[in-house]
Symmetry: C2
Subunit: 249 residues, 2 copies
Amino acid sequence: MIRLSDIDSRPPKHADKDDYKDLTKEYTDRLGALQDKLYAQKKYGVLVIFQGMDASGKDGAVKNVFEECQPSGLRVTSFKRPTEEEFAHDFLWRVHQHAPPKGMIHIFNRSHYEDVLIQRVHKWVDEKTVDSRFDAINAFESLLQTHANTVVFKFYMHISYEQQAIELQERLDSRSKNWKHNEGDWKEREYWSEYMRCYEDAFNRSVLPWTIVPVDERWYRDYVISKTIVEKLEQLGLDYPPFQKVKKP
Amino acid sequence: MIRLSDIDSRPPKHADKDDYKDLTKEYTDRLGALQDKLYAQKKYGVLVIFQGMDASGKDGAVKNVFEECQPSGLRVTSFKRPTEEEFAHDFLWRVHQHAPPKGMIHIFNRSHYEDVLIQRVHKWVDEKTVDSRFDAINAFESLLQTHANTVVFKFYMHISYEQQAIELQERLDSRSKNWKHNEGDWKEREYWSEYMRCYEDAFNRSVLPWTIVPVDERWYRDYVISKTIVEKLEQLGLDYPPFQKVKKP
């Protein structure tokens, strides 16, 4: 049972930034090596879902955690407001198309969880629909895991209400970040406690586990995510395929 | 008029590897900064096409040249043997779907040029069809450039016949490269001079220019490609969008 109010959004006290940065560098290097084998072996696919409030550092995590991965084996999809065509299908239709084939790491910046978050917070769907969406989500993730050897990571970017204000304000003040500013983000912020409730419900009702990532400090965020991915992938026994029994003709 | 036999596939004499690696690092850093603006501004798209014989270092170039770019703004598509569905359409159909939207860098590992290369070398298509394919390719690339503000780069990975043998042999000898081994690559190699003739014809008949990249030394390859992309993108005046006239409510 996950309760966000019990979880600190800041790093542990006395955690040393430089030490953690060194550790993160080790993990991202190891991830690069793991990805090369994943790509060569084509036995497993990897799906990495990032969910979190606006300005919780999803893009930054994508850039930092995967920096030693080869772009050919990595694909990022950002899910925004559905198009008219997407709306005309079931809510998993657009997501399914971007599921990773074996050998690939696919990253979702937001995901099918929006359909039980923003839509639920604003009461665009009734609770009965929400229930059946959770059933569908669990069946879908299980499908990927069982029938496509997909390793699913789900990261919740745990930012504090106060830190979000700082990050959103920076988008107003900084020239290089101003393009990310969206007045709607400040409006969504008014629904904070309702979002937290719906997120907690999502964590507790989904079968495949979530990782709650304290993101108030970006260096600690990168550490937790890279460590989580590496430790799991290292259990898979990824390796290059055996030598092919062929010779130069 | 490009003649491959006139162009060295090795770096200039006396070129110092470490010096070039330092220069490449500067270019890839600048490319990272340019991409951030490209992504924010959403005025231009970038299409980077890599073509070359097997083992000419296309994947390595993708990994090294774009290492400071954020994965969210980068997408790599490898074009292999067309699927049945793709074959049932015109030859540009599958390619067009992966054209970059404004703000994105899309990389093609092989491309629509295969339809005037491998298919022509093996005489799977007649010369009249080849002629009309060149017309279609020129019209298509012009469409992207004119109607979607796409900056198109086309890199030919210029490897020598001798160096290719070394690279292919390494795939037989090295555990971490053996999975790339494909007996068909050695067979295609027998058509080398015919490939060179068709490549030259493609360079000379396509309207948007090609860059011939000497790739026998990988460090020189990375230098030429990163320099070419950066110098062109720096002419575009990429910048973050102006401050939005909005305030925190």
